[in-house]
Every structure is written in structure tokens, then in C-alpha cells.
């Protein structure tokens, strides 16, 4: 009798819950649009390809067959395996997905994604695509070295792309395989450039950058993060040897509360330019800069959209471009096993177009430094000085 009423009650609650969802569903597209409008606009100046990429970010898989896209090609399949960060990581998983969607639209590739929930799943997840006979399987994340090796040796006829890493055998020795393209990025270059820009800003006491102190926050002390930071520190010191640099890690790529508190802490200790390398956690870090009216520097993609007035620039790492180009190369049978370096040379690293707070002359100087890095005159360090 009562349980009956309960049944009804539960049904009601469920209904309300779904009601909440669907009602918000109706509002969602507009929100998403407004969300994505910013980045696409900003990025379009940055680099033509990634503009389209972030534009693609607006449309979710279902809706991606918009006018500008070519006809889907069911015979060319690409699989993407994220690391445990997942697609919403605001970092390389996210960017790789953008590249994938772009390939889906512009190359007509048939794309599928598996979000890994456990590290021990990397092998089966890669295998799943290999078994489907995908033309290219993309492994995102530096912890997949051994997994890629395992699966790639097992399926020599399937092509693989490993982002931020290279195949490593059981002993941990790197082994280049003909069917694995190792996509490496010189994050230190991007880090160096934004660091240099930050240094000049402080040196010239531009706008809010008057404390001669800058800071950074990493997620975990892992290679892709530390390469950025190493470059950042070196660049800043190069621009202004007297500069003070505060740094820390949030020990998390998700916890925004910590990120923000570290940001506020760094600001309270004098920092006026904050550089984040911590995925979602880093958004909290940047938010601190927004709240306190100082400057922030984004990472990976152009994150100016987070707060146009605050984010003076971003350290770029065009995973999306790398992914797109690799897919394209595979399609045109130009797949290249072994190391594929993505650098300033091929426009895969660098800095996003600075916002209006950065004077033209500083932009010019940084651009010069970029040229020197391209020419090899400057070689940014890859490890943080102890």
C-alpha cells in the first residue's frame, strides 16, 4: 500500500529529474554556441587550421555533417583512445578530439572515440580499434608508451599515432616502430615564448604587470607539463634576469578549488602574470587572475575566450593540427613511422595572438625570439632547473 505510493513518488521524482535535464537540453545549444563563439573567433587569427578545428568544437559528433563537410568515407576509419583524463580534460585529449572531428568533416573520415577509465585498459582499448581494422589508431597521452608498443607489435598492419610519447618495450626502452608515428611537441618553445612575453611585460611595467613577479601552476610534475614550465622560466629570465618566479602544482587536473587558491596565493605573493599548465584545474588558476585583475596565460589552445581582457596570450600546442595532419598523411599514404616532431618550424607550437594589453613592440620582440628558436639560435630547456 505504502510501497505503491512510494513507487508513484519515485516515478514523479524521476520525471522531475529528466524534466530538469531535457529543459536544460533545450537551452544547451545556445549556451554551447556562445561558449564556442569566442574561441573560434580568437583562434582564427592564430592559425587557420585550428580555427576550423575549434569551430568544429561547437558541433557534437551527431551534428557534425554540416554543409562545409565532405561526404563521409566509410572505408577510412580512425579510432581515438583518450587517456584517463577523458575528453573533457581541457587539454590534449580535448584537442586531439577537435583534430579528429575536423578530419571527420574535412576528410570524411569515419571516427570513433574510446574514453579510457583505467590505465590498465589502454591495451584493450587500442586493441578494440585495431581489431576493427581501423586505418589509424590514435593513442593520447605519455603513459601509453608500453601499451602502444604491445598492441602495435601485435597488429603490424595497423597504423598508430602516439601523442607525447613513443613505443616502449617491457623494459621501458623506446623502440621506434614503422607502424607507429610518435607525435612530439616542443612545449618548451611555447613556454619560452610566453615566458619571454611575461618577462617583458613585467620589465616594462605594462598595465597590471608591475610587480616584476610572475608565476605558474602545473597539474602534476609530468613531462609535458614540466617542458612548458621549463621553457617559461627560461624565457622569463632571458627577458628579465631580475624577475621573480613563483610556482607550484595542484596535484590534480580536475580540482579547480585548489587551482584557484594557488592562484590567489601566488597573486597575494606578488605575481601579476599567471601561467597555467593544469587542464581543468588550471581554469581555477586563471579565474584567480580574473577576480584579482591581473594577467593570465592559457595553455595548449588559445584560452583567451576564458576572459578576453585577462588572458594576454596562450602557450600553444596544436595537438589538433598534429592529429589532423597525421590522419591526412595516412589517408594519402604518406604516413611516417617513428618520431614526428611538432615545433615552431611546422607552426605546431608558439603563442596565441596576444590581447590588446600587450604592446605591439613586445609582440614584435617575442616574434623575433620565435624566429631565433626556429633558426636554432635559441634552444629552450626541457627540464626545470632544480
Amino acid at each position: 500500500m505504502r510501497t505503491l505510493r512510494v513507487g508513484v513518488a519515485m516515478a514523479a521524482v524521476a520525471a522531475i529529474l529528466f524534466g530538469a535535464c531535457s529543459s536544460s537540453a533545450s537551452t544547451a545549444p545556445s549556451a554551447a554556441a556562445s561558449a564556442a563563439a569566442a574561441p573560434s573567433a580568437a583562434a582564427s587569427q592564430a592559425a587557420a587550421p585550428s580555427a576550423a578545428a575549434s569551430a568544429a568544437a561547437v558541433v557534437s559528433p551527431g551534428a557534425s555533417a554540416s554543409a562545409s563537410c565532405v561526404a563521409p568515407n566509410p572505408n577510412f576509419k580512425v579510432g581515438l583512445v583518450t587517456d584517463v583524463g577523458g575528453l573533457n580534460d581541457k587539454s590534449f585529449n580535448h584537442l586531439a578530439y577537435l583534430g579528429l572531428q575536423r578530419a571527420q568533416c574535412q576528410l570524411g573520415a569515419t571516427v570513433d572515440v574510446i574514453q579510457s577509465t583505467e590505465q590498465s585498459q589502454y591495451v584493450p582499448n587500442l586493441t578494440t580499434f585495431a581489431q576493427k581494422g581501423d586505418n589509424l589508431v590514435i593513442a593520447v597521452g605519455f603513459l601509453m608508451a608500453n601499451a602502444v608498443y604491445t598492441v602495435a607489435t601485435q597488429y603490424p598492419n595497423i597504423k598508430f599515432a602516439a601523442i607525447d610519447t613513443a613505443p616502449a618495450d617491457a623494459k621501458g626502452n623506446t623502440v621506434n616502430l614503422p607502424n607507429v608515428a610518435n607525435l612530439f611537441f616542443h612545449e618548451q618553445e611555447s613556454g619560452y615564448l610566453v615566458g619571454y612575453m611575461a618577462g617583458l611585460m613585467e620589465k616594462g611595467k605594462v598595465g597590471a604587470a608591475t610587480s616584476n613577479t610572475i608565476s605558474y601552476m602545473g597539474g602534476l610534475a609530468i613531462p609535458p607539463v614540466d617542458r612548458y614550465i621549463a621553457g617559461y622560466i627560461a624565457g622569463a629570465k632571458a627577458a628579465d634576469p631580475s624577475i621573480t618566479i613563483i610556482g607550484g602544482y595542484s596535484q590534480s587536473f580536475t580540482d579547480q578549488t585548489i587551482g584557484k587558491s594557488i592562484g590567489l596565493n601566488h597573486i597575494s605573493r606578488g605575481s601579476t602574470i599567471l601561467f597555467q599548465v593544469a587542464g581543468a584545474s588550471g581554469l581555477g588558476y586563471l579565474q584567480a587572475a580574473v577576480d584579482k585583475g591581473v594577467y593570465g596565460i592559457g595553455v595548449d589552445a588559445d584560452q583567451n575566450y576564458v576572459a578576453p581582457a585577462t588572458i594576454i596570450t596562450s602557450a600553444i600546442k596544436k595537438v589538433d593540427v598534429a592529429v589532423f595532419l597525421t590522419i591526412q598523411a595516412t589517408m594519402n599514404n604518406q604516413f611516417k613511422g617513428g618520431d614526428n616532431e611538432f615545433t615552431l618550424q611546422n607552426d605546431a607550437t608558439g603563442f596565441a595572438p596576444p590581447n590588446s594589453a600587450v604592446p605591439a613592440d613586445i609582440v614584435a620582440q617575442v616574434t623575433q625570439v620565435a624566429a631565433q628558436i626556429k633558426s636554432g639560435a635559441i634552444v629552450p630547456p626541457t627540464t626545470i632547473p632544480k
Binding site: 510501497t3 512510494v6 576493427k132 608500453n146 604491445t150 602534476l220 610534475a221 609530468i222 613531462p223 596535484q251
Partner: protein
């Protein structure tokens, strides 16, 4: 949180009890699948396709079965850790940290003694894992016995500490050999220390499923043996049900609390070792939260050895099945978390199940399920 909140079934007529123990969870799963289907539907996808893919993806081939088991094993072992503490009236919410400790200790032993012969080394690693996990949990047990510090707090805090320690060991160097990219991972487990792979290659080439499966089955037997075949287990259960009566029966409650936690931690330590031995090295943040999912598994498994084993298989199947579901039906893997939650929810909501049983005219069953 009083002991009364710890879910333990009171036994009834043996056969009826058994049937009820089988029927209720199955009904719960069915309900979960139905409601989960609604979610898929609401998100504009085809539930049938989703479940079909999940099923095939989980058990469709020797490879999938082997992978499902690999996903299940750490959950099962960690669930034994949660459950054993439950049996003593303790809510071990920090199995996560205990399994981190187990992983660290076993890896450390393996990598520092690379020249030992296989069998002794692997045994030593197992012992190290169990000791480390047990010690870590033991701290909580000891604090509970000595100062009454609530285990929910201590185990939770200790697990955060353990995780930070692992970050330090792997990121700041002490356990990370200099390697090409400075990736935060330990050196490789010496090959002779690896668990032998158990699927012959003519069934499945490069299978990864290894002897840790037998270790898990063994752990289940030990779990049941301690609880039901030894005075210690009797006393632990007695303390769990009614500490006052246990003390009246001459049982040293404080000591039993500590021992129960240590044993629980030992199971968790094993749970931490297994994934490392699957990947042949300890990676930074290697656990996706086995210790927390294990709470769900333990609860779904009703704190019985066999129940937990099956619940673990179910959750593992959902996890691995989600792979195919994402790859082939293009449905978000997050659905799995929702499904896992629903299964747990309906297992908890027994009254609902009993109501259904009553409608089905299975009054006796319904009462047994109470």
C-alpha cells in the same frame, strides 16, 4: 555512523536465503538496466544497441572475457577489503590508499631485487603488498581502538596521504629510473616476477589475463574461510554485529578491530599489486578509484565472498563492455557509471524488490529477502 548502518544479512532458512540472495540482485540488475535504458533513450540513442554492444563487448570473445576479468580483479580484491571491515562493523572508505601502499611496496621490492629468482621474488612481492596495505589500514584500526577516532575519517585521510606519497615517489624521482621522457613511472617489474599468463596462445595470442585470477579466487576462499571457519572470523563477525555482546563473550573487541582492519588492508594491498603486474610497472595515479568503486561492489555483493566475486565480474563487464559500446554504438562511456549507480541503488532498495516479489506471489521469498 553506527554499526547498525552496516549492511549485513541476517541468515534465515538456508535454501530460501540462498534463493533470495540470488533473485534479489538479479531483479535489481534488471531494474537498473530498464532505468538506464531510459537515460540512453532520453539522450537520443538506442538502448537496445547500447546494451547489445556492451554485452558483446564484455564477453563476446576470449579477448573480451580476458579483459573483463582484468578489469574485475582489482575491484573484487578491493571489495574484499571493504567488506571484511564491514563484517567487523567498520566502514573502510579508504581502501584506495591501502591499495596504493600495496602497489608501491610490491613494486619497490620487485624493482630493488631484479636478480632474485622468480618464485621467491613474486611471493615476496605478494607479502610486501599485503603487509603494506595491512599496515596502512592497521593505523586506522589502531587509532579507532586507542582513541576512538572514527575510521571513516582516518581511512579517508590516510588514502589521500598515500596517493600524495605515490606522486612524490614517482614524480620527484625516488622510484623513477632515468628514462627517455622522464615519465612518472617505476622501473619495469623483472620478467621472472611476472604472473604467468593463463590463456594458451592458441586460444588468445598475447593474452594478458594472468595468474592473479587464481590469486583472487584464493583470496575469496581465504575471506570466507577466515570469517566462517575460524574462531577469529567468528569473533570479528560477533564484534561487527554487537560489540557489547562480543565483549560479554570474552572477546577483546579493540584487538579484533585492529586485526580486522589489518586483514582488510592486506586484501587491498593485493588489489593494488595486480594492476601493476598487468602493466609491468607502476604508473603515476595508476588507480582510477578502485578503492571507491569497490565500496559499491562490496555492497552489491552483500559482503559475501561469492557475491562480491560476481558483483565484481558484473562491474568489470560493464567497464570493459563500455569500450565496445563507445567504439561501435557511439554512446558515452559515462553511461556505465550511471548503470553501476542504478544497480547499487536497486540492490539497496530491497523493499522495492520485495514489493515486486509479493506482486509475483513469492511471499516466502520476499520474507527471506528481508
Amino acid at each position: 555512523m553506527s554499526v547498525a548502518t552496516v549492511p549485513l544479512e541476517a541468515p534465515r532458512g538456508r535454501l530460501l536465503r540462498f534463493v533470495a540472495a540470488v533473485v534479489t540482485p538479479i531483479l535489481a540488475i534488471v531494474l537498473a538496466i530498464l532505468v538506464g535504458g531510459l537515460v540512453v533513450l532520453a539522450s537520443g540513442s538506442n538502448p537496445i544497441a547500447a546494451y547489445q554492444q556492451m554485452l558483446v563487448g564484455a564477453v563476446g570473445s576470449p579477448f573480451d572475457i580476458s579483459e573483463t576479468l582484468i578489469s574485475s580483479i582489482p575491484l573484487i580484491l578491493a571489495a574484499y577489503a571493504v567488506s571484511f571491515a564491514f563484517r567487523c562493523g567498520l566502514f573502510n572508505i579508504g581502501a584506495e590508499g591501502q591499495l596504493y601502499m600495496g602497489a608501491i611496496a610490491s613494486t619497490w621490492v620487485a624493482t630493488t631485487l631484479p636478480n632474485w629468482p622468480g618464485l621467491p621474488l613474486i611471493l615476496l612481492c605478494i607479502v610486501a603488498a599485503m603487509l603494506a596495505g595491512g599496515a596502512w589500514a592497521g593505523i586506522a584500526g589502531w587509532l579507532k581502538a586507542k582513541t576512538g577516532a572514527h575510521e571513516v575519517i582516518t581511512t579517508m585521510m590516510l588514502s589521500y596521504v598515500a596517493i600524495d606519497i605515490s606522486h612524490w615517489l614517482l614524480e620527484a624521482g625516488p622510484m623513477t629510473p632515468a628514462n627517455a621522457f622522464g615519465t612518472p613511472e617505476s622501473g619495469p617489474i623483472p620478467p621472472q616476477a611476472a604472473f604467468p599468463v593463463i590463456l594458451p596462445s592458441w586460444i588468445l595470442p598475447n593474452a594478458r589475463l594472468n595468474a592473479s585470477l587464481f590469486l583472487t579466487i584464493l583470496a575469496g576462499l581465504v575471506f570466507a574461510w577466515i570469517l566462517w571457519r575460524t574462531p577469529l572470523g567468528y569473533e570479528i563477525r560477533a564484534v561487527g554485529f554487537n560489540a557489547k555482546a562480543a565483549a560479554y563473550g570474552g572477546i577483546n573487541v579493540a584487538r579484533r578491530l585492529v586485526i580486522a582492519m589489518v586483514i582488510a588492508g592486506a586484501f587491498a594491498g593485493l588489489a593494488g599489486m595486480v594492476p601493476v603486474w598487468v602493466q609491468h610497472r607502476l604508473y603515476d595515479s595508476f588507480s582510477p578509484g578502485y578503492g571507491y568503486e569497490a565500496i559499491a561492489v562490496a555492497l552489491v555483493g552483500k559482503n559475501s565472498a561469492i557475491g562480491i566475486f560476481l558483483a565484481g565480474l558484473l562491474y568489470g563487464a560493464m567497464i570493459h563492455g563500455a569500450v565496445a559500446m563507445q567504439a561501435n554504438a557511439n554512446i558515452s562511456g559515462f553511461l556505465v557509471q550511471i548503470l553501476q549507480a542504478l544497480v547499487l541503488f536497486f540492490v539497496g532498495a530491497e523493499m522495492l524488490i520485495r514489493w515486486i516479489l509479493r506482486r509475483g506471489g513469492l511471499r516466502a521469498l520476499m520474507e527471506a529477502a528481508a
